[in-house]
């Protein structure tokens, strides 16, 4: 029998921006000008996941435990195809339910 979830050398890199994610067009333009003045200075990348290998057989129950920032959610996000991996690949045989990260505000809205 083939595993239901198979993960091979999976990795996910995030670019660390100095400014928040909601950068404005103005910042982007000024940033690209600065970039031209000082070439060679690259964005810092952060590997949220690196070389993850695992396979889960049908019927198995697996929990993922880790400290803050260990990459648990990132792994689940990749398995549920919400965000793509940077390296490696994963094979899903079957269907994946929705990802639900509960926060207090979510519970309020529901």
């Amino acid at each position: 029998m083939k595993p239901a979830i198979e993960i091979i050398n999976l990795g996910k890199a995030y670019k660390l921006a100095k400014s928040p994610a909601y950068i404005s067009l103005r910042e982007m333009i000024s940033g690209s000008v600065q970039h031209m003045m000082r070439p060679g200075k690259k964005d810092e990348t952060f590997m949220a996941l690196e070389d993850i290998n695992l396979s889960i057989m049908p019927g198995e129950r697996v929990g993922i435990i880790g400290r803050n920032g260990a990459g648990k959610s990132t792994l689940l996000k990749i398995i549920s195809r919400i965000t793509p991996p940077t390296t490696g690949r994963a094979v899903i045989r079957g269907r994946v339910g929705s990802l639900r990260i509960y926060s207090l505000t979510d519970l309020y809205l529901d």
Binding site: Y22, S24, I82, P85, R89, V91, I92, R95, V96
Partner: protein, 271 residues
């Protein structure tokens, strides 16, 4: 069902996947149509009242005061023909442009081809257009406006040009909007500008000198309105305008889909 998850490729546009998710597409559209006029007294009447109100204002301003020459077509019919097409374009682009941000929550939780979101916004606008079209036909009857048989070709052609342009521009802007929220504020302004470059309140043919017609023809809405009005006036559409408009329509569609496709996989990381 086996799914392969890999780093995003360069240019893999999957129409098959889009087709697989057609049910979700249908429900997104149906939900938006239903929600749009919920809790309103007039309901779908708003889709009819808006173009009618604008028609009234433009008729008072431009037919009585400025006396714009529209040939054999009476001004209210002339302006309404342009307005219903423009309203579809305007509604589709502004709704599609906002759509990715509005759906940020669902994007962060489940997978589906993201293109469904702006496309369903365009379809909602098409639904409003059909309501407007019925009113337009009623007005044609009231003003005893003859419609030539060429309408069976030109009307659908005009609608297709508007829908394709709106899909291209809408998906492009929705993708841009995720990263640069500036477009949220720029969009209404850009659409306002575009309105005056579209031949809604005036006929493109009345403009002098000729080169300005060529420049304005880049706006595909002009081609659509040109085709739409031809069966009313009985004058053949200006093929120059139609060709330029169709060309830029294709360019807009390809640019929009390409950019959307390129940025789509990272929406969840920043939305």
């Amino acid at each position: 069902m086996e799914t392969n998850i890999q780093p995003p490729g360069k240019l893999s546009f999957s129409f098959r996947e889009f087709w697989q998710y057609r049910e979700l597409f249908y429900f997104f559209t149906w939900r938006d149509i239903r929600v749009k006029y919920k809790q309103t007294y007039l309901g779908i009447g708003w889709a009819i009242l808006q173009p009618l109100g604008m028609m009234l204002i433009f008729t008072l301003l431009f037919s009585k005061t400025w006396k714009i020459d529209t040939g054999t077509v009476q001004y209210p019919v002339f302006v309404l023909a342009g307005l219903i097409l423009w309203n579809m374009f305007n509604g589709a682009v502004s709704q599609a442009g906002e759509s990715m941000i509005r759906h940020a929550n669902i994007i962060n939780k489940i997978y589906f081809p993201r293109l469904i979101i702006p496309c369903s916004a365009v379809l909602v606008a098409l639904f409003d257009f059909i309501a407007g079209l019925i009113v337009f036909l009623v007005f044609c009857f009231i003003y005893k406006q003859p419609i030539s048989l060429s309408a069976f070709v030109y009307f659908p052609a005009a609608i297709i040009i508007t829908v394709i342009t709106a899909t291209g521009a809408g998906s492009f802007l929705s993708a841009l909007n995720v990263k640069y929220r500036d477009f949220r504020y720029a969009l209404p302004f850009m659409l306002q500008l575009l309105f005056f470059t579209s031949q809604v309140i005036y006929p493109l043919g009345s403009l002098q000198p000729t080169w300005i017609k060529q420049v304005l023809a880049i706006n595909p809405v002009n081609a659509a309105i040109e085709l739409f009005r031809s069966p009313l006036s009985g004058v053949a559409p200006d093929w120059n305008t139609v060709m330029i408009g169709t060309g830029s329509m294709l360019l807009i569609l390809l640019t929009g889909l390409f950019y959307f496709r390129k940025t789509e996989s990272y929406f969840a990381d920043i939305a």
